[in-house]
Symmetry: D2
Subunit: 163 residues, 4 copies
Protein backbone atom coordinates (compact mmCIF):
# COMPACT_ATOMS: atom_id res chain seq x y z
CA UNK A 1 0.00 0.00 0.00
CA UNK A 2 1.29 3.41 -0.96
CA UNK A 3 1.69 5.92 1.87
CA UNK A 4 -0.05 9.27 1.66
CA UNK A 5 2.24 12.15 0.70
CA UNK A 6 1.50 15.38 2.55
CA UNK A 7 3.20 18.65 1.64
CA UNK A 8 4.36 21.20 4.19
CA UNK A 9 4.98 24.59 2.59
CA UNK A 10 6.40 27.75 4.12
CA UNK A 11 9.15 30.31 3.90
CA UNK A 12 12.85 29.55 4.10
CA UNK A 13 13.75 32.54 6.28
CA UNK A 14 12.22 31.28 9.53
CA UNK A 15 14.55 30.31 12.39
CA UNK A 16 14.28 27.89 15.27
CA UNK A 17 13.22 30.68 17.65
CA UNK A 18 10.11 31.47 15.62
CA UNK A 19 6.67 30.10 16.47
CA UNK A 20 6.26 28.93 12.87
CA UNK A 21 9.35 26.72 13.14
CA UNK A 22 7.85 24.97 16.15
CA UNK A 23 4.51 24.58 14.38
CA UNK A 24 6.19 23.08 11.29
CA UNK A 25 8.28 20.68 13.38
CA UNK A 26 5.15 19.56 15.22
CA UNK A 27 3.24 19.10 11.96
CA UNK A 28 6.09 17.05 10.48
CA UNK A 29 6.24 14.88 13.55
CA UNK A 30 2.50 14.24 13.63
CA UNK A 31 2.39 13.40 9.93
CA UNK A 32 5.20 10.87 10.28
CA UNK A 33 3.45 9.24 13.23
CA UNK A 34 0.36 8.86 11.04
CA UNK A 35 2.55 7.05 8.49
CA UNK A 36 2.60 9.86 5.93
CA UNK A 37 5.54 10.84 3.74
CA UNK A 38 6.37 14.53 4.24
CA UNK A 39 7.12 16.52 1.07
CA UNK A 40 8.71 19.98 1.18
CA UNK A 41 10.70 22.32 -1.04
CA UNK A 42 13.83 20.85 0.55
CA UNK A 43 15.48 24.09 1.69
CA UNK A 44 15.61 25.96 5.05
CA UNK A 45 13.15 27.44 7.54
CA UNK A 46 9.74 25.76 7.51
CA UNK A 47 11.06 23.13 5.07
CA UNK A 48 13.85 22.12 7.44
CA UNK A 49 11.61 22.23 10.51
CA UNK A 50 8.97 19.96 8.98
CA UNK A 51 11.55 17.50 7.62
CA UNK A 52 13.36 17.40 10.95
CA UNK A 53 10.13 16.73 12.83
CA UNK A 54 9.20 13.94 10.45
CA UNK A 55 12.67 12.39 10.46
CA UNK A 56 12.80 12.36 14.27
CA UNK A 57 9.47 10.53 14.35
CA UNK A 58 10.82 7.89 11.97
CA UNK A 59 9.16 9.18 8.82
CA UNK A 60 10.32 9.46 5.23
CA UNK A 61 10.95 12.92 3.80
CA UNK A 62 11.10 14.17 0.20
CA UNK A 63 12.50 17.50 -0.93
CA UNK A 64 11.68 19.00 -4.33
CA UNK A 65 14.58 21.39 -4.84
CA UNK A 66 14.60 24.45 -7.13
CA UNK A 67 18.19 24.00 -8.33
CA UNK A 68 20.89 21.38 -8.65
CA UNK A 69 22.74 19.46 -5.98
CA UNK A 70 25.50 22.04 -6.31
CA UNK A 71 23.42 25.22 -6.41
CA UNK A 72 20.68 24.26 -3.93
CA UNK A 73 21.59 21.23 -1.81
CA UNK A 74 18.83 19.74 0.32
CA UNK A 75 18.71 20.28 4.06
CA UNK A 76 20.11 17.36 6.02
CA UNK A 77 16.69 16.00 7.01
CA UNK A 78 15.64 15.20 3.45
CA UNK A 79 15.82 11.48 2.66
CA UNK A 80 14.99 11.76 -1.01
CA UNK A 81 16.08 14.94 -2.77
CA UNK A 82 14.67 15.60 -6.24
CA UNK A 83 16.61 18.28 -8.09
CA UNK A 84 14.46 20.05 -10.63
CA UNK A 85 16.75 22.86 -11.78
CA UNK A 86 13.67 24.92 -12.63
CA UNK A 87 13.46 27.48 -9.83
CA UNK A 88 10.06 28.48 -8.48
CA UNK A 89 8.37 26.54 -11.29
CA UNK A 90 9.04 23.55 -9.06
CA UNK A 91 6.22 24.77 -6.85
CA UNK A 92 3.81 23.38 -9.46
CA UNK A 93 5.40 19.95 -8.98
CA UNK A 94 5.07 20.17 -5.20
CA UNK A 95 1.31 20.63 -5.33
CA UNK A 96 0.78 17.95 -8.00
CA UNK A 97 2.69 15.37 -5.96
CA UNK A 98 0.81 15.72 -2.65
CA UNK A 99 -2.43 14.13 -1.51
CA UNK A 100 -2.94 17.28 0.58
CA UNK A 101 -0.76 20.09 1.90
CA UNK A 102 -0.33 22.44 4.84
CA UNK A 103 1.01 26.01 4.49
CA UNK A 104 2.53 27.63 7.55
CA UNK A 105 3.34 31.34 7.62
CA UNK A 106 4.53 32.35 4.24
CA UNK A 107 5.96 34.87 1.89
CA UNK A 108 5.40 35.03 -1.86
CA UNK A 109 6.81 31.60 -2.70
CA UNK A 110 4.36 30.07 -0.25
CA UNK A 111 1.53 32.17 -1.67
CA UNK A 112 2.31 30.76 -5.12
CA UNK A 113 2.12 27.23 -3.71
CA UNK A 114 -1.24 27.99 -2.11
CA UNK A 115 -2.56 29.37 -5.40
CA UNK A 116 -1.15 26.50 -7.47
CA UNK A 117 -2.62 23.96 -5.02
CA UNK A 118 -6.08 25.53 -5.29
CA UNK A 119 -5.74 25.66 -9.08
CA UNK A 120 -4.62 22.01 -9.26
CA UNK A 121 -7.28 20.75 -6.87
CA UNK A 122 -4.80 19.75 -4.16
CA UNK A 123 -6.50 20.27 -0.77
CA UNK A 124 -4.56 22.90 1.17
CA UNK A 125 -4.78 23.87 4.83
CA UNK A 126 -3.50 27.26 6.01
CA UNK A 127 -2.12 27.90 9.48
CA UNK A 128 -1.03 31.45 10.32
CA UNK A 129 -0.68 32.14 6.64
CA UNK A 130 -2.14 34.41 3.95
CA UNK A 131 -5.60 35.95 4.00
CA UNK A 132 -6.95 36.08 0.44
CA UNK A 133 -9.88 38.06 -0.90
CA UNK A 134 -10.81 37.82 -4.55
CA UNK A 135 -12.15 40.98 -6.19
CA UNK A 136 -15.91 41.25 -5.97
CA UNK A 137 -16.13 38.40 -3.50
CA UNK A 138 -16.55 35.75 -6.16
CA UNK A 139 -17.46 32.37 -4.74
CA UNK A 140 -14.26 30.48 -5.33
CA UNK A 141 -13.76 27.32 -3.24
CA UNK A 142 -11.02 28.46 -0.88
CA UNK A 143 -8.34 26.92 1.29
CA UNK A 144 -9.09 25.26 4.64
CA UNK A 145 -8.12 27.35 7.68
CA UNK A 146 -6.69 25.68 10.80
CA UNK A 147 -6.27 27.29 14.21
CA UNK A 148 -3.57 24.92 15.49
CA UNK A 149 -0.93 22.52 14.10
CA UNK A 150 -3.06 19.62 15.37
CA UNK A 151 -6.10 20.85 13.51
CA UNK A 152 -4.03 21.45 10.36
CA UNK A 153 -2.86 17.83 10.42
CA UNK A 154 -6.36 16.50 11.06
CA UNK A 155 -7.81 18.58 8.22
CA UNK A 156 -5.07 17.54 5.79
CA UNK A 157 -5.47 13.84 6.60
CA UNK A 158 -9.23 14.00 6.18
CA UNK A 159 -8.87 15.76 2.85
CA UNK A 160 -6.18 13.31 1.69
CA UNK A 161 -8.39 10.35 2.61
CA UNK A 162 -11.08 11.73 0.32
CA UNK A 163 -8.76 12.16 -2.66
CA UNK B 1 16.54 48.46 -29.61
CA UNK B 2 14.58 45.75 -27.88
CA UNK B 3 10.95 46.54 -27.13
CA UNK B 4 9.65 46.26 -23.58
CA UNK B 5 7.63 43.11 -22.91
CA UNK B 6 4.62 43.67 -20.65
CA UNK B 7 2.55 40.77 -19.33
CA UNK B 8 -1.22 40.87 -19.00
CA UNK B 9 -2.50 38.15 -16.66
CA UNK B 10 -6.04 37.15 -15.86
CA UNK B 11 -8.57 34.33 -15.89
CA UNK B 12 -9.63 32.43 -19.00
CA UNK B 13 -13.32 32.31 -18.10
CA UNK B 14 -14.17 35.94 -18.74
CA UNK B 15 -16.40 36.81 -21.70
CA UNK B 16 -16.75 39.86 -23.92
CA UNK B 17 -19.70 41.14 -21.87
CA UNK B 18 -17.62 41.40 -18.69
CA UNK B 19 -16.01 44.63 -17.52
CA UNK B 20 -12.69 42.85 -17.15
CA UNK B 21 -12.66 41.90 -20.82
CA UNK B 22 -13.05 45.55 -21.79
CA UNK B 23 -10.33 46.57 -19.34
CA UNK B 24 -7.94 43.94 -20.73
CA UNK B 25 -8.65 44.95 -24.34
CA UNK B 26 -8.00 48.58 -23.44
CA UNK B 27 -4.76 47.69 -21.65
CA UNK B 28 -3.56 45.64 -24.62
CA UNK B 29 -4.35 48.47 -27.00
CA UNK B 30 -2.58 51.10 -24.91
CA UNK B 31 0.51 48.92 -24.49
CA UNK B 32 0.78 48.32 -28.23
CA UNK B 33 0.46 52.04 -28.90
CA UNK B 34 3.36 52.62 -26.52
CA UNK B 35 5.38 50.15 -28.61
CA UNK B 36 5.36 47.34 -26.06
CA UNK B 37 5.12 43.63 -26.83
CA UNK B 38 2.16 42.08 -24.98
CA UNK B 39 2.77 38.71 -23.33
CA UNK B 40 -0.08 36.53 -22.04
CA UNK B 41 -0.80 32.90 -21.23
CA UNK B 42 -2.16 32.57 -24.77
CA UNK B 43 -5.59 31.14 -23.94
CA UNK B 44 -9.08 32.68 -23.59
CA UNK B 45 -10.76 35.38 -21.49
CA UNK B 46 -8.38 38.13 -20.36
CA UNK B 47 -5.60 36.57 -22.45
CA UNK B 48 -7.64 36.84 -25.65
CA UNK B 49 -8.94 40.30 -24.81
CA UNK B 50 -5.46 41.74 -24.19
CA UNK B 51 -3.99 40.09 -27.31
CA UNK B 52 -6.90 41.29 -29.46
CA UNK B 53 -6.52 44.84 -28.18
CA UNK B 54 -2.80 44.81 -28.89
CA UNK B 55 -3.16 43.23 -32.32
CA UNK B 56 -5.78 45.77 -33.38
CA UNK B 57 -3.42 48.57 -32.38
CA UNK B 58 -0.68 47.04 -34.55
CA UNK B 59 1.30 45.46 -31.72
CA UNK B 60 3.14 42.15 -31.42
CA UNK B 61 1.69 39.50 -29.09
CA UNK B 62 3.31 36.49 -27.43
CA UNK B 63 1.45 33.61 -25.80
CA UNK B 64 3.14 31.23 -23.36
CA UNK B 65 0.87 28.18 -23.53
CA UNK B 66 0.51 25.48 -20.87
CA UNK B 67 0.23 22.57 -23.32
CA UNK B 68 1.05 21.63 -26.87
CA UNK B 69 -0.29 23.01 -30.14
CA UNK B 70 -2.73 20.10 -30.14
CA UNK B 71 -3.85 20.18 -26.51
CA UNK B 72 -3.89 23.96 -25.95
CA UNK B 73 -3.78 25.96 -29.18
CA UNK B 74 -3.23 29.70 -28.86
CA UNK B 75 -6.07 32.15 -29.36
CA UNK B 76 -6.10 33.70 -32.83
CA UNK B 77 -4.61 37.02 -31.69
CA UNK B 78 -1.29 35.51 -30.62
CA UNK B 79 1.49 36.22 -33.11
CA UNK B 80 4.14 34.10 -31.43
CA UNK B 81 2.92 31.05 -29.52
CA UNK B 82 5.41 29.29 -27.24
CA UNK B 83 4.25 25.81 -26.25
CA UNK B 84 5.70 24.76 -22.92
CA UNK B 85 3.84 21.51 -22.25
CA UNK B 86 4.32 22.11 -18.54
CA UNK B 87 0.89 23.21 -17.31
CA UNK B 88 0.65 25.91 -14.67
CA UNK B 89 4.42 25.76 -14.15
CA UNK B 90 4.52 27.96 -17.24
CA UNK B 91 3.33 30.81 -15.03
CA UNK B 92 6.89 31.01 -13.70
CA UNK B 93 8.12 31.60 -17.25
CA UNK B 94 5.53 34.34 -17.83
CA UNK B 95 6.76 36.43 -14.93
CA UNK B 96 10.46 35.90 -15.73
CA UNK B 97 9.96 37.04 -19.32
CA UNK B 98 8.22 40.38 -18.64
CA UNK B 99 9.67 43.78 -17.82
CA UNK B 100 6.49 44.39 -15.83
CA UNK B 101 2.99 42.91 -15.71
CA UNK B 102 -0.64 43.81 -15.11
CA UNK B 103 -3.14 41.42 -13.48
CA UNK B 104 -6.84 41.99 -14.17
CA UNK B 105 -9.51 40.16 -12.19
CA UNK B 106 -8.28 36.74 -11.41
CA UNK B 107 -8.83 33.30 -10.08
CA UNK B 108 -6.16 31.01 -8.65
CA UNK B 109 -3.98 30.80 -11.75
CA UNK B 110 -3.74 34.57 -11.77
CA UNK B 111 -3.02 34.60 -8.05
CA UNK B 112 -0.09 32.25 -8.67
CA UNK B 113 1.24 34.63 -11.33
CA UNK B 114 0.96 37.56 -8.93
CA UNK B 115 2.83 35.61 -6.25
CA UNK B 116 5.49 34.35 -8.67
CA UNK B 117 5.99 37.88 -10.03
CA UNK B 118 6.50 39.29 -6.54
CA UNK B 119 8.87 36.43 -5.73
CA UNK B 120 10.85 36.92 -8.96
CA UNK B 121 11.04 40.69 -8.60
CA UNK B 122 8.87 41.38 -11.67
CA UNK B 123 6.90 44.60 -11.02
CA UNK B 124 3.19 43.75 -11.00
CA UNK B 125 0.18 46.06 -11.09
CA UNK B 126 -3.24 44.82 -9.93
CA UNK B 127 -6.53 46.12 -11.31
CA UNK B 128 -9.74 44.74 -9.81
CA UNK B 129 -7.79 41.71 -8.63
CA UNK B 130 -6.83 39.95 -5.41
CA UNK B 131 -6.50 41.58 -2.01
CA UNK B 132 -3.65 39.92 -0.11
CA UNK B 133 -2.85 40.12 3.57
CA UNK B 134 0.16 38.27 4.97
CA UNK B 135 -0.22 36.83 8.48
CA UNK B 136 0.94 39.20 11.19
CA UNK B 137 1.13 42.09 8.75
CA UNK B 138 4.74 41.48 7.83
CA UNK B 139 6.23 44.27 5.81
CA UNK B 140 6.59 42.56 2.45
CA UNK B 141 6.93 44.82 -0.59
CA UNK B 142 3.56 44.34 -2.26
CA UNK B 143 2.04 44.73 -5.69
CA UNK B 144 1.08 48.09 -7.15
CA UNK B 145 -2.66 48.83 -7.16
CA UNK B 146 -4.29 50.72 -10.05
CA UNK B 147 -7.77 52.19 -10.10
CA UNK B 148 -8.20 52.26 -13.89
CA UNK B 149 -6.76 50.53 -16.98
CA UNK B 150 -4.99 53.79 -17.86
CA UNK B 151 -3.34 53.95 -14.45
CA UNK B 152 -2.36 50.29 -14.68
CA UNK B 153 -0.58 50.92 -17.98
CA UNK B 154 1.14 54.03 -16.67
CA UNK B 155 2.34 52.21 -13.54
CA UNK B 156 3.59 49.22 -15.51
CA UNK B 157 5.50 51.38 -17.99
CA UNK B 158 7.12 53.39 -15.22
CA UNK B 159 8.14 50.21 -13.42
CA UNK B 160 9.45 48.62 -16.63
CA UNK B 161 11.52 51.72 -17.40
CA UNK B 162 13.26 51.32 -14.05
CA UNK B 163 14.06 47.65 -14.59
CA UNK C 1 23.42 8.69 5.81
CA UNK C 2 21.71 9.41 2.54
CA UNK C 3 21.37 6.46 0.15
CA UNK C 4 22.69 6.73 -3.39
CA UNK C 5 19.98 7.34 -6.00
CA UNK C 6 20.56 5.48 -9.27
CA UNK C 7 18.41 6.08 -12.33
CA UNK C 8 17.27 3.33 -14.67
CA UNK C 9 16.10 4.73 -18.01
CA UNK C 10 14.51 2.95 -20.94
CA UNK C 11 11.46 2.77 -23.15
CA UNK C 12 7.93 2.17 -21.97
CA UNK C 13 6.96 -0.19 -24.79
CA UNK C 14 8.99 -3.22 -23.66
CA UNK C 15 7.16 -6.29 -22.38
CA UNK C 16 8.03 -9.04 -19.95
CA UNK C 17 9.05 -11.37 -22.79
CA UNK C 18 11.79 -9.02 -23.98
CA UNK C 19 15.43 -9.41 -22.99
CA UNK C 20 15.56 -5.76 -21.96
CA UNK C 21 12.79 -6.30 -19.40
CA UNK C 22 14.80 -9.06 -17.76
CA UNK C 23 17.93 -6.92 -17.80
CA UNK C 24 16.08 -3.99 -16.19
CA UNK C 25 14.54 -6.22 -13.52
CA UNK C 26 17.97 -7.64 -12.73
CA UNK C 27 19.52 -4.19 -12.55
CA UNK C 28 16.76 -2.97 -10.22
CA UNK C 29 17.24 -5.98 -7.97
CA UNK C 30 21.00 -5.60 -7.79
CA UNK C 31 20.77 -1.88 -7.04
CA UNK C 32 18.32 -2.47 -4.19
CA UNK C 33 20.58 -5.13 -2.73
CA UNK C 34 23.40 -2.61 -2.73
CA UNK C 35 21.15 -0.25 -0.74
CA UNK C 36 20.49 2.18 -3.57
CA UNK C 37 17.23 3.99 -4.24
CA UNK C 38 16.04 3.28 -7.81
CA UNK C 39 14.71 6.27 -9.77
CA UNK C 40 12.76 5.85 -13.01
CA UNK C 41 10.28 7.75 -15.16
CA UNK C 42 7.53 5.87 -13.30
CA UNK C 43 5.67 4.43 -16.29
CA UNK C 44 5.72 1.04 -18.06
CA UNK C 45 8.28 -1.19 -19.77
CA UNK C 46 11.83 -0.71 -18.50
CA UNK C 47 10.53 1.64 -15.80
CA UNK C 48 8.17 -1.01 -14.41
CA UNK C 49 10.74 -3.80 -14.72
CA UNK C 50 13.42 -1.90 -12.81
CA UNK C 51 10.99 -0.77 -10.10
CA UNK C 52 9.60 -4.29 -9.71
CA UNK C 53 13.09 -5.76 -9.39
CA UNK C 54 14.04 -3.20 -6.77
CA UNK C 55 10.80 -3.55 -4.83
CA UNK C 56 11.12 -7.34 -4.69
CA UNK C 57 14.62 -6.98 -3.27
CA UNK C 58 13.29 -4.68 -0.54
CA UNK C 59 14.43 -1.41 -2.08
CA UNK C 60 12.83 2.02 -2.29
CA UNK C 61 11.65 3.25 -5.69
CA UNK C 62 10.95 6.76 -6.98
CA UNK C 63 9.05 7.61 -10.16
CA UNK C 64 9.28 11.02 -11.80
CA UNK C 65 6.09 11.12 -13.87
CA UNK C 66 5.46 13.30 -16.94
CA UNK C 67 1.82 14.09 -16.11
CA UNK C 68 -0.57 14.19 -13.19
CA UNK C 69 -1.87 11.37 -11.01
CA UNK C 70 -4.93 11.30 -13.27
CA UNK C 71 -3.25 11.53 -16.67
CA UNK C 72 -0.15 9.42 -15.98
CA UNK C 73 -0.44 7.31 -12.82
CA UNK C 74 2.71 5.58 -11.62
CA UNK C 75 3.19 1.84 -12.10
CA UNK C 76 2.38 -0.15 -8.99
CA UNK C 77 6.02 -0.70 -8.01
CA UNK C 78 6.73 2.99 -7.41
CA UNK C 79 6.88 3.87 -3.71
CA UNK C 80 7.24 7.61 -4.17
CA UNK C 81 5.60 9.12 -7.24
CA UNK C 82 6.51 12.69 -8.13
CA UNK C 83 4.06 14.23 -10.61
CA UNK C 84 5.69 16.94 -12.66
CA UNK C 85 2.98 17.71 -15.22
CA UNK C 86 5.68 18.84 -17.62
CA UNK C 87 5.94 16.01 -20.15
CA UNK C 88 9.33 15.03 -21.50
CA UNK C 89 10.89 18.07 -19.84
CA UNK C 90 10.83 15.89 -16.73
CA UNK C 91 13.73 13.97 -18.22
CA UNK C 92 15.95 16.87 -17.20
CA UNK C 93 14.83 16.33 -13.58
CA UNK C 94 15.58 12.62 -13.76
CA UNK C 95 19.23 13.16 -14.66
CA UNK C 96 19.74 15.97 -12.12
CA UNK C 97 18.38 13.81 -9.30
CA UNK C 98 20.59 10.71 -9.78
CA UNK C 99 24.11 10.01 -8.56
CA UNK C 100 24.51 7.90 -11.71
CA UNK C 101 22.18 6.24 -14.22
CA UNK C 102 21.84 3.18 -16.45
CA UNK C 103 20.07 3.26 -19.84
CA UNK C 104 18.74 -0.01 -21.21
CA UNK C 105 17.53 -0.29 -24.79
CA UNK C 106 15.86 2.91 -25.73
CA UNK C 107 13.87 4.98 -28.11
CA UNK C 108 13.98 8.76 -28.40
CA UNK C 109 12.86 9.55 -24.86
CA UNK C 110 15.74 7.47 -23.56
CA UNK C 111 18.13 9.12 -26.02
CA UNK C 112 17.12 12.51 -24.60
CA UNK C 113 17.86 11.25 -21.09
CA UNK C 114 21.29 10.01 -22.19
CA UNK C 115 22.04 13.38 -23.80
CA UNK C 116 20.73 15.37 -20.82
CA UNK C 117 22.76 13.20 -18.42
CA UNK C 118 25.95 13.80 -20.38
CA UNK C 119 25.17 17.53 -20.54
CA UNK C 120 24.46 17.70 -16.80
CA UNK C 121 27.52 15.67 -15.81
CA UNK C 122 25.49 12.73 -14.48
CA UNK C 123 27.51 9.54 -15.11
CA UNK C 124 25.53 7.32 -17.47
CA UNK C 125 26.07 3.66 -18.37
CA UNK C 126 24.57 2.24 -21.58
CA UNK C 127 23.52 -1.40 -21.98
CA UNK C 128 22.15 -2.47 -25.37
CA UNK C 129 21.29 1.13 -26.08
CA UNK C 130 22.16 3.89 -28.55
CA UNK C 131 25.40 4.18 -30.49
CA UNK C 132 26.29 7.86 -30.85
CA UNK C 133 28.82 9.48 -33.17
CA UNK C 134 29.33 13.23 -33.13
CA UNK C 135 30.09 14.89 -36.47
CA UNK C 136 33.81 15.12 -37.16
CA UNK C 137 34.65 12.76 -34.33
CA UNK C 138 35.02 15.51 -31.77
CA UNK C 139 36.50 14.29 -28.52
CA UNK C 140 33.47 14.62 -26.25
CA UNK C 141 33.57 12.59 -23.03
CA UNK C 142 31.04 9.88 -23.81
CA UNK C 143 28.82 7.49 -21.89
CA UNK C 144 30.13 4.30 -20.28
CA UNK C 145 29.30 1.10 -22.16
CA UNK C 146 28.46 -2.12 -20.29
CA UNK C 147 28.23 -5.59 -21.78
CA UNK C 148 26.00 -7.11 -19.07
CA UNK C 149 23.51 -5.94 -16.41
CA UNK C 150 26.08 -6.85 -13.76
CA UNK C 151 28.73 -4.72 -15.38
CA UNK C 152 26.25 -1.85 -15.78
CA UNK C 153 25.51 -1.91 -12.04
CA UNK C 154 29.19 -2.11 -11.13
CA UNK C 155 30.06 0.81 -13.42
CA UNK C 156 27.18 2.94 -12.11
CA UNK C 157 28.08 2.31 -8.47
CA UNK C 158 31.74 3.14 -9.08
CA UNK C 159 30.78 6.35 -10.86
CA UNK C 160 28.28 7.28 -8.13
CA UNK C 161 30.90 6.72 -5.42
CA UNK C 162 33.13 9.27 -7.14
CA UNK C 163 30.42 11.91 -7.36
CA UNK D 1 -1.77 34.68 -40.98
CA UNK D 2 0.65 33.19 -38.50
CA UNK D 3 4.23 32.82 -39.71
CA UNK D 4 5.95 29.46 -39.52
CA UNK D 5 8.38 29.13 -36.60
CA UNK D 6 11.55 27.21 -37.47
CA UNK D 7 14.08 26.23 -34.80
CA UNK D 8 17.83 26.34 -35.34
CA UNK D 9 19.66 24.26 -32.74
CA UNK D 10 23.37 23.88 -32.15
CA UNK D 11 26.18 24.32 -29.65
CA UNK D 12 27.08 27.58 -27.95
CA UNK D 13 30.84 27.12 -28.22
CA UNK D 14 31.19 27.73 -31.96
CA UNK D 15 32.93 30.89 -33.13
CA UNK D 16 32.67 33.02 -36.24
CA UNK D 17 35.67 31.29 -37.82
CA UNK D 18 33.97 27.88 -37.76
CA UNK D 19 32.16 26.42 -40.77
CA UNK D 20 29.12 25.73 -38.60
CA UNK D 21 28.78 29.43 -37.73
CA UNK D 22 28.64 30.30 -41.42
CA UNK D 23 26.12 27.51 -42.06
CA UNK D 24 23.89 28.72 -39.21
CA UNK D 25 24.06 32.35 -40.36
CA UNK D 26 23.11 31.26 -43.87
CA UNK D 27 20.24 29.13 -42.57
CA UNK D 28 18.93 32.02 -40.46
CA UNK D 29 19.12 34.38 -43.42
CA UNK D 30 17.30 32.00 -45.77
CA UNK D 31 14.56 31.31 -43.23
CA UNK D 32 13.92 35.02 -42.68
CA UNK D 33 13.73 35.58 -46.44
CA UNK D 34 11.07 32.89 -46.62
CA UNK D 35 9.12 34.81 -43.97
CA UNK D 36 9.76 32.37 -41.12
CA UNK D 37 10.34 33.29 -37.49
CA UNK D 38 13.66 31.84 -36.27
CA UNK D 39 13.62 30.25 -32.81
CA UNK D 40 16.84 29.38 -30.96
CA UNK D 41 18.06 28.76 -27.42
CA UNK D 42 19.02 32.45 -27.33
CA UNK D 43 22.66 32.07 -26.28
CA UNK D 44 25.99 32.05 -28.22
CA UNK D 45 27.55 30.09 -31.05
CA UNK D 46 25.05 28.60 -33.48
CA UNK D 47 22.23 30.41 -31.64
CA UNK D 48 23.83 33.80 -32.22
CA UNK D 49 24.81 33.01 -35.80
CA UNK D 50 21.31 31.95 -36.80
CA UNK D 51 19.67 34.92 -35.05
CA UNK D 52 22.15 37.36 -36.65
CA UNK D 53 21.52 35.91 -40.09
CA UNK D 54 17.77 36.19 -39.63
CA UNK D 55 17.91 39.69 -38.17
CA UNK D 56 20.07 40.96 -41.03
CA UNK D 57 17.53 39.61 -43.53
CA UNK D 58 14.75 41.48 -41.73
CA UNK D 59 13.32 38.50 -39.86
CA UNK D 60 11.92 38.11 -36.35
CA UNK D 61 13.92 36.06 -33.84
CA UNK D 62 12.87 34.33 -30.62
CA UNK D 63 15.22 33.02 -27.94
CA UNK D 64 14.11 30.50 -25.33
CA UNK D 65 16.68 31.04 -22.58
CA UNK D 66 17.64 28.53 -19.88
CA UNK D 67 17.96 31.07 -17.06
CA UNK D 68 16.85 34.55 -16.11
CA UNK D 69 17.63 37.90 -17.72
CA UNK D 70 20.38 38.28 -15.12
CA UNK D 71 21.90 34.79 -15.25
CA UNK D 72 21.56 34.11 -18.99
CA UNK D 73 20.85 37.24 -21.03
CA UNK D 74 19.91 36.72 -24.67
CA UNK D 75 22.38 37.47 -27.45
CA UNK D 76 21.84 40.85 -29.05
CA UNK D 77 20.12 39.44 -32.16
CA UNK D 78 17.14 38.06 -30.25
CA UNK D 79 14.02 40.20 -30.67
CA UNK D 80 11.85 38.29 -28.23
CA UNK D 81 13.62 36.65 -25.30
CA UNK D 82 11.63 34.16 -23.22
CA UNK D 83 13.29 33.42 -19.88
CA UNK D 84 12.38 29.99 -18.59
CA UNK D 85 14.66 29.64 -15.58
CA UNK D 86 14.55 25.87 -16.04
CA UNK D 87 17.95 25.02 -17.51
CA UNK D 88 18.18 22.33 -20.17
CA UNK D 89 14.54 21.39 -19.56
CA UNK D 90 13.83 24.38 -21.80
CA UNK D 91 14.94 22.22 -24.72
CA UNK D 92 11.57 20.48 -24.48
CA UNK D 93 9.87 23.86 -25.00
CA UNK D 94 12.04 24.63 -28.03
CA UNK D 95 10.92 21.53 -29.90
CA UNK D 96 7.24 21.94 -28.96
CA UNK D 97 7.19 25.51 -30.24
CA UNK D 98 8.61 24.93 -33.74
CA UNK D 99 6.88 23.82 -36.94
CA UNK D 100 10.19 22.19 -37.87
CA UNK D 101 13.83 22.53 -36.80
CA UNK D 102 17.38 22.31 -38.11
CA UNK D 103 20.31 21.06 -36.00
CA UNK D 104 23.80 22.16 -37.01
CA UNK D 105 26.87 20.55 -35.47
CA UNK D 106 26.14 19.78 -31.90
CA UNK D 107 27.22 18.61 -28.52
CA UNK D 108 25.02 16.95 -25.90
CA UNK D 109 22.53 19.81 -25.49
CA UNK D 110 21.88 19.66 -29.22
CA UNK D 111 21.59 15.88 -29.08
CA UNK D 112 18.90 16.25 -26.43
CA UNK D 113 17.01 18.66 -28.68
CA UNK D 114 17.24 16.20 -31.59
CA UNK D 115 15.93 13.40 -29.37
CA UNK D 116 13.15 15.53 -27.87
CA UNK D 117 12.11 16.71 -31.35
CA UNK D 118 11.85 13.13 -32.60
CA UNK D 119 9.93 12.16 -29.47
CA UNK D 120 7.54 15.12 -29.80
CA UNK D 121 6.99 14.62 -33.52
CA UNK D 122 8.68 17.89 -34.51
CA UNK D 123 10.34 17.36 -37.92
CA UNK D 124 14.09 17.80 -37.52
CA UNK D 125 16.79 18.17 -40.16
CA UNK D 126 20.43 17.43 -39.32
CA UNK D 127 23.37 19.14 -41.01
CA UNK D 128 26.88 18.06 -39.97
CA UNK D 129 25.44 16.79 -36.72
CA UNK D 130 25.06 13.53 -34.79
CA UNK D 131 24.96 10.07 -36.30
CA UNK D 132 22.56 7.91 -34.29
CA UNK D 133 22.17 4.14 -34.30
CA UNK D 134 19.58 2.49 -32.09
CA UNK D 135 20.53 -0.90 -30.62
CA UNK D 136 19.46 -3.79 -32.81
CA UNK D 137 18.71 -1.49 -35.75
CA UNK D 138 15.08 -1.00 -34.74
CA UNK D 139 13.05 0.75 -37.38
CA UNK D 140 12.47 4.09 -35.69
CA UNK D 141 11.51 6.99 -37.96
CA UNK D 142 14.70 9.05 -37.90
CA UNK D 143 15.74 12.62 -38.52
CA UNK D 144 16.12 14.08 -42.01
CA UNK D 145 19.74 14.48 -43.17
CA UNK D 146 20.79 17.47 -45.27
CA UNK D 147 24.05 17.86 -47.14
CA UNK D 148 24.01 21.67 -47.35
CA UNK D 149 22.42 24.63 -45.54
CA UNK D 150 20.21 25.19 -48.58
CA UNK D 151 18.97 21.62 -48.48
CA UNK D 152 18.39 21.85 -44.72
CA UNK D 153 16.17 24.91 -45.21
CA UNK D 154 14.26 23.29 -48.07
CA UNK D 155 13.67 20.11 -46.08
CA UNK D 156 12.53 22.04 -42.98
CA UNK D 157 10.11 24.20 -44.96
CA UNK D 158 8.61 21.19 -46.72
CA UNK D 159 8.18 19.40 -43.40
CA UNK D 160 6.69 22.49 -41.74
CA UNK D 161 4.20 22.92 -44.59
CA UNK D 162 2.94 19.40 -43.93
CA UNK D 163 2.49 19.95 -40.20
Amino acid sequence: MTKKIIGVFGPGNVSEADDEWQAAASVGQQLARRDCVVLTGGLGGIMTAASKGAREAGGITIGILPGTRISSPANSYVDIPVFTGMGEARNAINVKSCDAAIAIGGEYGTLSEIALALKAGCPIVLFNSWSLTPFGGRGLPGPLIASSPEEAVAMALTAAANE
